[in-house]
């Protein structure tokens, strides 16, 4: 079954200079094991490809094109996609791909993601409405993962229990 991270986790995001800093918290230990297994650097890099317009194209042609066509998100992304089709075979573009660091904190049932160069120059240099990256956490909660029912159900049940006591 498909799970949205919002069903099993909570999040807070912030900034330092041009670096977005996102913490993802499972509500309980089973959920943490799922996050630890599924939310890898590569997954996060793909999910947030649009925050690095210069790099978005290099990451994954299909994913970027699909999300752009559907969302009409902004012209920067569109031009990044266009430039991808021109530089399809440019292997160098991957070496300049954005850097995502990931840290595991089993003691806090949390994962930490640090996304360099993700804030359009950072706070007072950014053209974006959300110049501080405060809503990037919400974008992460929209991420869906596909889990076998027998793995997903116990997480949902355990989460429901924790939430009842919140």
């Amino acid at each position: 079954m498909k799970l949205r991270l919002a069903q099993i986790a909570h999040v807070r995001s912030g900034d330092k200079a041009d670096i977005a800093d996102i913490s993802l918290f499972a509500w309980e230990p089973l959920g943490y094991a799922v996050l630890k297994k599924c939310i890898t650097v590569a997954v996060v890099q793909k999910h947030f490809a649009h925050v690095w317009p210069d790099h978005a194209a290099a990451l994954d042609a299909n994913l970027t094109v699909n999300s752009t066509v559907k969302s009409t998100v902004n012209s920067d992304l569109k031009s990044a996609v266009e430039s991808f089709s021109e530089s399809d075979s440019d292997a160098d573009s991957l070496s300049t791909a954005p850097q995502v660091a990931r840290y595991e904190l089993p003691n806090l049932l949390a994962l930490k993601f640090v996304l360099r160069g993700a804030l359009n120059g950072g706070a007072a240099s950014s053209l974006r409405s959300d110049n501080l990256g405060k809503t990037l956490g919400a974008q992460l909660l929209r991420l869906t993962i596909d889990l076998p029912d027998k793995e997903a159900q116990p997480v949902l049940q355990a989460t429901e229990k924790v939430l009842a006591d919140f």
Binding site: K16, A17, D21, V73, N74, Y103, N120
Partner: protein, 457 residues
């Protein structure tokens, strides 16, 4: 065993101080530690100072103190503020003026030495190329565009100021958590090498420095925020700290918000990057073995912070002029709200091209649609969209283009698609400020730290 209670003051320039009053009157706190300086607040303060040389500090310090001092002084509560910003002496003089008018007495200490602008030539001559901490770039061309460069000082000067009997300590840039660690070092006489104790103190400070965020404010979950009680009267977090480094996070009775395992861990990891090596001027904190124990009744015990020796260099954040932003927001009503906004964006891009408005980057957002979720927004049918706001912004090095850009819009009211509204005028161009974090040997900064004490009688 001796314990000390600290409360959050403000979490940023512009925060609310009623929750601080609750902590003073009902939270039995000994210190209010107030963080007025986000990373770029100094850029705002520099604009103030250019207009008026006696400005350059966070002005909310004054109404805040005016509101809190009678309750605080009656209970012996002391204050540590970084509200001095770029002009801690100016802030102290303004406090003096306020207190003289009110007939209040206090001993005010001023900590300076974080301003490294005057040191930059010397540092570069000595071979520090002031590399950008994140990109590794050497500071060259932007040097002439710098508007401020301030080091994050540690807790020691704050502890020393308190040892000189200060009721109010006013600093410029210090590490946020140092505002809290300073009183703990002073009260408990923790040594500079008591790494684990200092680490526990930094954790306490870090949990408090963002005010309401440490008590269930901005709690990033779906369908949970409604269950955090009475956010309108949120109690800012209080740290109850023991001589042995025992830390309990709590809040004043009868206040809103929630302090539990979940709300505390959200703040614990906030903006720390590597949680196993959170570098502060006084200690490098490792949270990987840290434990949070929910004691119930809005109390959480924090233990297990590991400290490693303080870094040999201090972090300096410089701000520099980084071009201009021209921007505008304009609204579109059903029918076809989104399509019309998209069409106008396209028209404006054509106009910019034809009228040779030069820009390096352009940002188009459809407010109410996908501004925050980007490609992860869902897409309603055209007829289901009631209204959309188009926001466009350009980045340009020349202010005249930033000024010209929003003037591409008004004529469309009569000559563009129908049902356009909510046009609130032409916004002024904004100066963009870049951030340049770098490292400087700590002794070159610490040599210039000064503490001055002002007696207001």
């Amino acid at each position: 065993m001796k314990r000390v209670r600290l409360t959050s003051g403000l979490g940023f320039y512009g925060d609310h101080w009623n929750p601080v009053l609750a902590a003073i009157e009902r939270g039995e706190v000994d210190y209010v530690c107030s963080d007025h300086l986000a990373e770029l607040t100094l850029a705002i303060l520099q604009k103030d100072r250019l207009k008026n040389p006696t400005a350059g500090y966070a002005r909310d310090l004054l109404p805040m103190l005016a509101h809190l001092w009678p309750s605080a002084s009656a209970r012996g509560v002391k204050f540590v503020f970084n509200a001095g910003g770029l002009n801690p002496h100016g802030a102290a003089q303004a406090v003096q003026k306020l207190f003289v008018e009110k007939g209040w007495r206090a001993r005010v200490a001023v900590v300076t030495g974080d301003d490294v602008m005057p040191l930059l030539d010397h540092l570069q001559a000595e071979g520090n190329d002031l590399r950008h901490m994140d990109t590794g770039e050497v500071m060259t061309s932007i040097r002439e565009q710098l508007i401020f460069a301030n080091a994050y000082l540690g807790a020691q000067p704050i502890a020393k100021a308190l040892a000189r009997g200060a009721d109010i300590v006013i600093t410029g840039r210090v590490a946020d958590a140092a505002l809290f660690l300073g009183p703990l070092i002073h009260e408990f006489q923790w040594r500079r090498t008591d790494w684990h104790l200092l680490a526990q103190g930094v954790v306490a400070g870090h949990l408090l420095e963002c005010s309401g965020q440490g008590a269930g404010g901005n709690f990033g979950a779906a369908n949970i925020w409604q269950r955090i009680p009475d956010l309108a009267h949120i109690g800012f977090p209080i740290a109850d700290v023991g001589h042995d480094g025992d830390v309990i996070i709590c809040k004043a009775p009868g206040t809103g918000g929630r302090i539990n395992f979940h709300t505390v861990r959200q703040q614990l990891l906030y903006e720390v990057h590597n949680p196993a090596a959170y570098v502060t001027p006084d200690v490098v904190l490792d949270m990987s073995q840290l434990s949070l124990k929910d004691l119930g009744d809005d109390r959480v015990r924090v233990s297990g912070a590991i400290g490693a020796p303080a870094p040999l260099q201090l972090k300096v954040v410089a701000g520099y002029r980084n071009g201009w932003m021209g921007h505008i927001v304009i609204g579109f009503c059903w029918p076809d709200a989104l399509r019309k906004a998209q069409a106008v964006a396209e028209t404006v891009r054509t106009m910019m091209h034809e009228s040779r408005i030069e820009y390096e980057e352009q940002c188009t957002e459809f407010l109410g649609h996908n501004t925050f979720l980007g490609p992860h927004a869902h897409h309603p049918e055209d007829d289901d969209i009631n209204e959309i706001w188009l926001r466009m912004a350009i980045r340009t090095n020349d202010k005249k283009y930033a000024d010209a850009f929003p003037r591409c819009f008004p004529w469309l009211a009569l000559s563009g698609p129908p049902f356009m509204g909510g046009f609130h005028g032409i916004p002024a161009a904004s100066q963009l400020i870049g951030v340049w974090p770098t490292l400087v040997a700590r002794e070159s900064i610490e040599d210039q730290i000064q503490i001055e004490v002002l007696e207001i009688a």
